[in-house]
């Protein structure tokens, strides 16, 4: 599903190179629920961005669904994000000027789906997160937990094979966080692969695999799937 082979990322500012990721080796299988933890500044977000095609690596090979990402141009990466990847952000990243229906509609329009199909998906996924009755509300009229549920509905509406969650519970209270986490577990059980960055060890422990990033290096802490082997560095 996802293979990273010697992926590195460095940023150069004022002639000083900062190595955010160093020679990452990782393989994620379809249906995995992978949590990514690590201290602040360890490279978690960079790792997530590269995995989600939000930025490109400096070197190495990244295969997503068997496709070499390095061979895709910007349009190709946009298309792949839209068709195969769903995003859940810490700050929800809902568009404040659009109501819930329109927010969920955004990626579907980029997909080029017809109106009827889009409506069907939007209603289904808003219903799935328990917000079908509030589809005409603006994000500002919802609680944080509800907004994150809308973001999840938006991510699921495109039927992604791969869901990337960046601190999805970071801005939620513990009750809301549990609720969102349960939702993510349900989504994973339904077959969607999830890669989740979190600071919360208890949430990370609920994933089937735990990856730890420190100083740009990846190591695997646990793997509940006995048949999987992850190549990593200590």
């Amino acid at each position: 599903m996802l293979t990273m082979n010697k992926i590195s990322k460095s940023f150069i500012t004022d002639d000083v190179a900062t190595h955010a990721l160093r020679d990452i080796q990782l393989h994620v299988n379809e249906g995995d629920f992978v949590s990514v933890t690590g201290p602040s500044g360890s490279g978690k977000t960079t790792f997530l961005n590269i995995a989600g095609l939000l930025e490109t690596s400096t070197s190495g090979e990244y295969l997503l669904d068997g496709e070499d990402i390095a061979k895709l141009n910007d349009s190709g990466r946009s298309r792949m994000r839209n068709q195969k990847i769903g995003f859940i952000f810490q700050s929800f990243n809902l568009i404040p000027d659009l109501n819930l229906f329109d927010n969920v509609d955004v990626p579907l329009r980029y997909r080029g789906l017809n109106t009827a199909e889009r409506r069907k998906r939007i209603e289904h996924h808003l219903d799935q997160v328990g917000l079908a009755s509030r589809m005409k509300h603006l994000p500002s009229q919802l609680s944080g937990g509800q907004q994150q549920r809308v973001a999840i509905a938006r991510a699921l509406a495109t039927s992604p094979r791969f869901l990337l969650a960046d601190e999805p519970t970071g801005n939620l209270d513990s009750q809301m966080a549990q609720s969102v986490m349960s939702l993510l577990e349900d989504i994973n059980k339904a077959g969607t692969t999830i890669l989740m960055v979190t600071h919360d060890p208890s949430l990370a422990a609920r994933a089937t695999r735990q990856i730890y990033i420190k100083d740009g290096h990846v190591s695997e802490l646990t793997n509940k799937n006995s048949n999987l082997h992850v190549v990593g560095e200590a």
Binding site: G52, L54, D74, R81, L98, R118, R154
Partner: protein
């Protein structure tokens, strides 16, 4: 069609705009104001340009005139005039010369009313009056399209203060049409009345000869009368062979000045210069109007750039999120261009109404012609293009925002 509109996100853009109305409304009003002023200013420029492009009927490139002012006492003006005209005719390169009472487009001249019937209470058709001799038509370079030229025997002297008019006239086609229900041919041979009661027969029709006043709505209506002014001030109108005007202007001035020390020759002026001076105000007005149009358009353009840049800076993370959700660079660029198009549409609809309203007021107040719908359409299209050009740079900047802004960028 609806599917296409849906894919273009027009509904989403519109709904988002409705939640941030103020900036968009201000730009729409600016576009409306620009269109209102621009269309009417262009229309006024067009009217002036059309006026400036009207042919005077004269051979302008080869004609000039001068003033002859006599100061000597006991002077035989009639003999001196004939001698002057004779000397000028004999100058190599001169085609024709006539004494004339007024100069077309110069701003000063004579006017009278012509009536088809005699009577004090009848309203005549206004016309400029040019007093010329039998060389008048050739000297002016006007085209006789019907009837015949004056004979030397037709020419009579007109003393200062006289109100007597000769029995013949040659009139312009426009004057003939004004007097004879649009059919100029009917005018030839007809007797009309000048100064209420004096009969004058139309013996010839010339194609065109403009009056001295370019702003007069009857500028194309002129009449030639076979008269020579007997006085101490006169003007000679001279036509030269093609290309010899500038060479002959000082030659004739010197020749006349040297031939008689009892008068002053002055104001030697080409018809081209007279035309240029006549339309100087038009030119200046057009330049001012053009400047206003350019400045207004630039202000509108910069306003659009400013609003778009502000909007993009405010929505950096939102744009990054859209990119993360699958928007291509082109789709982001298209979003901002369509957003501008919607704002511009609102602006041009308001502006079109404003332009028509202003034009109605101008027509009622200044007797201008109604605005051409084609010009309005051109103005609308031009401003939509200006809007799209202005927003293209900010839209390009937006399209370059990295999708990683969704996780790292500003809120």
């Amino acid at each position: 069609m609806l599917e296409l509109l849906a894919r273009l996100e027009l509904g989403l853009i519109f709904r988002a705009l409705m939640r941030n109305k103020i900036g968009a409304l201000l730009i729409a009003l600016q576009i409306a104001l620009t269109l209102t002023i621009m269309v009417n200013a262009i229309f006024m420029m067009q009217e002036r340009s059309q006026q400036m492009a009207r042919p005077s009927g004269l051979d302008e490139t080869n004609t000039f005139y001068l003033s002859n002012t006599i100061f000597a006492q006991n002077y035989n003006t009639q003999t001196a005039l004939q001698q002057d005209l004779q000397r000028i005719r004999q100058t190599p390169g001169v085609v024709a010369v006539t004494q004339i009472n007024a100069i077309p487009l110069s701003g000063g001249g004579w006017s009278m009313g012509l009536q088809t019937k005699p009577g004090d209470d009848l309203e005549g058709t206004g016309t400029a009056v040019y007093m010329v001799d039998e060389h008048g038509i050739e000297a002016l370079g006007v085209e006789l399209i019907a009837g015949e030229n004056f004979q030397s025997s037709d020419i009579v002297w007109r003393e200062v203060g006289s109100t007597k008019w000769p029995p013949k006239t040659i009139i312009t086609k426009a004057l003939a049409e004004a007097m004879f229900e649009g059919d100029w041919k009917k005018a030839l041979g007809k007797t009309v009345y000048i100064d209420n009661h004096q009969p004058v027969q139309i013996t010839g029709i010339i194609n065109g000869l403009q009056a001295p006043w370019n702003g007069w709505n009857g500028v194309e209506r002129s009449m030639l009368v076979p008269q020579q002014l007997d006085g101490k001030g006169s003007r000679y109108f001279i036509r030269t062979e093609a290309g010899r005007r500038d060479e002959l202007m000082p030659v004739i001035e010197k020749m006349l000045a040297d031939s008689d020390r009892g008068r002053i020759i002055r104001n030697v002026t080409s018809m081209q210069q007279t035309r240029d001076e006549s339309y100087q105000e038009h030119q200046a007005t057009n330049t001012i109007l053009l400047t206003v149009i350019i400045v207004l358009t630039l202000i509108t353009g910069f306003g659009i750039v400013g609003l778009a840049m502000f909007s993009i800076n405010r929505r950096t993370r939102q744009i990054g999120t859209r990119r993360a959700l699958g928007a291509s660079q082109w789709q982001v660029m298209r979003y901002f261009m369509l957003e501008n198009l919607l704002i511009s549409f609102a602006g041009v609809i308001l502006g079109a109404a404003g332009a028509v309203g202003l034009n109605i007021w101008l027509v009622a107040t200044f007797s201008m012609s109604p605005l051409s719908p084609v010009l309005l359409v051109i103005g609308v299209v031009a401003l939509l293009i200006v809007g799209q050009l202005a927003v293209s740079y900010p839209a390009l900047v937006a399209s370059k925002i990295s999708p990683a802004t969704a996780t790292r960028g500003r809120a």
